[in-house]
């Protein structure tokens, strides 16, 4: 009895392997945790320092910072204030201070503005004329009185010299008048910007040809112009420690889940960085898991896409200075949807959507399937096909992994080069790179012609994904899949697929599981997953967003 039990005790080699089995997850888990804590700490928890403040509070918050000498309030004395402004920002050569005397009453005043931000003619002719000759007599003693007296549609009072200076340099035209306790900001900045065009990264055949521009106010106005509603609410926040920028949160007041809104607001408030150059900065600062290869925030240039997302109960984040708006939360299936699915009739929409899912699968898996079939299990594909492929591969001196890597990397380099090339050269480069190199590689016997087909299909598939950034994720993961396939063949490929499944089920975007509605299973949301059900059937908003009101129809 004892002997038979002893005979089952495995040898030392097995115990060493068991040790390895323990060690690897321990090390990986430790690495993951320490990397995660290094950057991701405090994300999504309320009450961890708030840096970003609503714009209305921005000035007072700036004033509250101790130790900055410029945070002095206006003294109310014209000469002192003007001197303070001059001392602080007068060194800028593009700053103009035009002093004048008011004809009626004889008070002094100064118009302060920056070059290039305003229409100079109007400023000089109209405003100066009014200020010098038409302004009614009597002291302008407070902002309210100024509001009534001065014929400007936009009139704000700055309460500290610092915020006044910032606004002036940002492009506001400002006014200091003797007797007035503060500075007045009278004109909005109108710097140079491009004309509004069709979004480059999300072109559609059918749909509005309107894309966001770099100016925040234009972008918000585009959202407003989508239709009449009194429920579209936009809140402005200002973020950035060195250079501040405006962030706008847009949502439908009566639809969005208040808890989601609070969560997003919380994360926006925690942004602590000296400058937000693009909305990608915000995306990376507020996302749930920075170690995941999958994006947890959707970006788009299309106002129509934003507005329909808002109607699903999601929240848009717009940043000044970039045409890319962010939409949260996002799930995997949304990355494969295009607005066109809804603009076309439901049958073509469904077909295109299914096609995209197939393309995503190919873009991710095709090279790994090729490697596992060719190197490990030629017996699993039809014999004739296997013979054909093996015949064409006869002269190829590399194992299939190297063969695939050669072409894959060449394609990736071509793609990267194609973005930077000037437009007239781009297509020529494509022909040289794609056709000639591919053909020559086959002729030279470095790769097999079948592989060229596989790689071409993969590349085209990854272009068919409507979100560019989602395409990058799949490109990245494809290489990981190829390694799995090269080591363990089909078994490795299945493990790779399961690994992605495991990762995706753990991933959340602002509390929404990334794979909803597949898992957790939400049957009513399946109408808009692989299929795009006819409009008449889509009566309710997505369940996963837990909206306040869920009926789309009255």
């Amino acid at each position: 009895m004892l002997a038979s039990i002893v005979s089952y005790i495995p040898g030392w080699a097995i115990f060493v392997q068991a040790g390895v089995a323990l060690l690897v997850p321990l090390v990986l888990g430790y690495l993951y945790k320490s990397l995660y804590l290094l950057v991701g700490s405090g994300r999504g928890q309320a009450g961890y320092g708030t840096r970003t403040v609503p714009r209305s509070q921005a000035q007072s918050a700036a004033g509250a910072k101790s130790g900055t000498p410029a945070s002095i309030p206006f003294s109310g004395n014209y000469t002192t204030d003007l001197l303070a402004v001059q001392k602080a920002i007068g060194a800028n050569s593009d700053l103009h201070i035009r002093e004048f005397t008011i004809a009626n009453g004889g008070g002094r005043g100064a118009l302060i503005y920056v070059d290039g931000m305003q229409n100079d003619r109007i400023l000089n002719m109209r405003i100066m004329q009014f200020l010098m000759y038409e302004i009614p007599a009597g002291p302008v003693s407070s902002a309210e009185i100024a509001n009534q007296l001065l014929p400007f549609s936009q009139l704000n009072e700055a309460d500290s010299v610092e915020s006044f200076n910032k606004s002036v340099l940002f492009g506001h035209t400002a006014l200091l008048i003797e007797g007035l306790p503060g500075g007045l900001l009278i004109e909005l900045p109108g710097g140079a910007n491009r004309t509004i065009g069709e979004p480059v990264s999300e072109a559609l055949l059918r749909g509005p040809r309107l894309g966001f521009s770099e100016v925040l106010s234009e972008n918000t106005s585009m959202l407003r112009r989508q239709g009449f509603s009194d429920q579209l609410e936009m809140k402005t926040y200002r973020a950035g420690n060195t250079i501040q920028r405006d962030i706008v949160l847009a949502y439908m007041k009566d639809i969005v889940n208040p808890e989601l809104l609070e969560e997003v607001t919380n994360r926006i408030r925690k942004i602590d960085i000296d400058f937000l150059a693009e909305s990608g900065y915000i995306e990376q600062l507020i996302e749930d898991n920075y170690l995941s290869p999958f994006q947890q925030v959707q970006n788009t240039e299309r106002p129509d896409r934003v507005i329909s997302a808002l109607l699903e109960g999601r929240i848009a984040i717009l940043l000044d200075g970039t045409p890319f708006a962010l939409i949260v939360p996002v799930t995997f299936s949304m990355l494969l949807q295009s607005p066109e699915d809804y603009y076309e009739r439901w049958l073509p929409g469904t077909l295109l959507r299914l096609l995209r899912f197939a393309a995503a699968f190919l873009a991710l898996m095709a090279p790994s399937l090729y490697i596992s079939f060719i190197s490990f299990h030629p017996g699993l594909i039809p014999t004739e096909l296997a013979i054909t492929i093996i015949k064409t591969r006869q002269g190829v001196p590399f194992p299939s992994l190297i063969e695939v890597l050669i072409l894959e990397i060449a394609i990736e380099i071509l793609r990267e080069a194609g973005i930077r090339l000037p437009k007239p050269i781009g297509p020529a480069m494509g022909i040289v790179g794609g056709l000639i190199i591919g053909d020559a590689a086959v002729q030279a016997g470095i790769v097999s012609p079948f592989l060229v087909i596989v790689i071409a299909v993969t590349a085209i598939s990854s272009f068919s994904i409507p979100m560019y950034s989602a395409g990058i994720t799949l490109r990245l993961l494809r290489f990981a899949g190829m390694l799995f396939a090269a080591v363990l063949g089909m078994y490795g490929t299945i493990l790779f697929f399961l690994l992605i499944c495991c990762h995706l089920t753990k991933l959340k975007s602002f509390g929404v599981p990334y794979l909803t509605p597949v898992s957790p299973f939400r049957l009513s949301d399946w109408k808009d997953l692989f299929l795009r059900a006819p409009m008449a059937l889509m009566k309710r908003r997505p369940v996963m967003m837990k909206t306040k009101q869920d009926k789309r129809k009255s």
């Binding site: 997850p25 808890e259 594909i381 078994y491 697929f497 399961l498 898992s519």
Partner: protein, 367 residues
Amino acid sequence: MFVRTDDKITATQAAVFLNNTLLGAGILTLPRSVSESVKTPDSWISVLLGGAIVMLVVFIMVKISQQFPGKTVFQYAAQITGRVFGGGLCVLLVLYFIIIAGFEIRTLAEVTLFFLLEGTPIWAVILPFLWLSTYLVYGGINSIARVFTIVFPISIMILLISFILSVRLFDINHLRPVLGNGFPPVFAGLKSTVLVFTGVEVTMTLVAFMEKPKLAVKAMLGGLAIPLGLYFLTVVMVIGGISVDSAITSTWPTIDLMRSFEVPGFFFERMEFPFMVIWLMQMFCNFSSFFFQSTLGISQIFKIKIHPIIYAMVPVLFLSAMLPKSMTDLFAFGDAIGKMGIVLFLLLPVLLSVIWLIRVKGLKQHV
């Protein structure tokens, strides 16, 4: 609640969880093991009968679990019978889960080595699988249930397609005569058909995780009915396809069935490949489920945090998988697991229910 922080699963998820826990190695081996003991084509009756018995067992398990809402068997066993005795029972259950997990992963490795990766060292197959499962189990019951919901429809679909395509081999004469030797062979087959449902013990922990424990009976019986139906289908199609005699002699009769017909004009020609794919994924679910149950058990019996136990469990599971020295050992191992299952069934739900009934109804104690 927009952000969910509780570890609860819905009734559907619970049903899928149970289904994926049960549907595993049996698909490949059941036709052989049941035919070996029945020796007549009546094995399908054995499957149905065994399924009915297991349904009854599950019913008892759900009922006793529902008396302790939010508590798993590892917690309420101690409540019913006292810490030492209950703890002992639960340790047995955990050991049982560990052994099943080892058995599952070893079966997987053997099949993979035989069909897909000849000549690869066995640890190279087992270790990545084990690590991946660790990653999944680390995410808790919610992640596991979600992965199961993804795998479940894929495997059901491909299984059904495979069986539909194998209809061309199906010969009803292979299934005749019905009850040619009367009932004794059917009862002889019960042993192996009950074994195929080893792992239903997870019911006693699943109920605790359900959002609405009232739906437990429905969910669990539903979760049991699907693998029962599939096992029934497997036995009927395999025996109808390749006859009882070849089912007995073949090691993996279901794969033999898949290999024995070709689908012309289809990319794969043979259904063997997609079948292997879903079977591997199913085994992954299977294994992860037992992995999770055993860590949960240890954590709750000894009141330790679950995450260190997950790590500690990895080498234990690996050793448990490496214990059998050959295929014969492995199958003997499987039989032993079945017997353990019956003993554990008598010990846990039955004994617990009886003691609970005596204490609450008889002695009017408050448990």
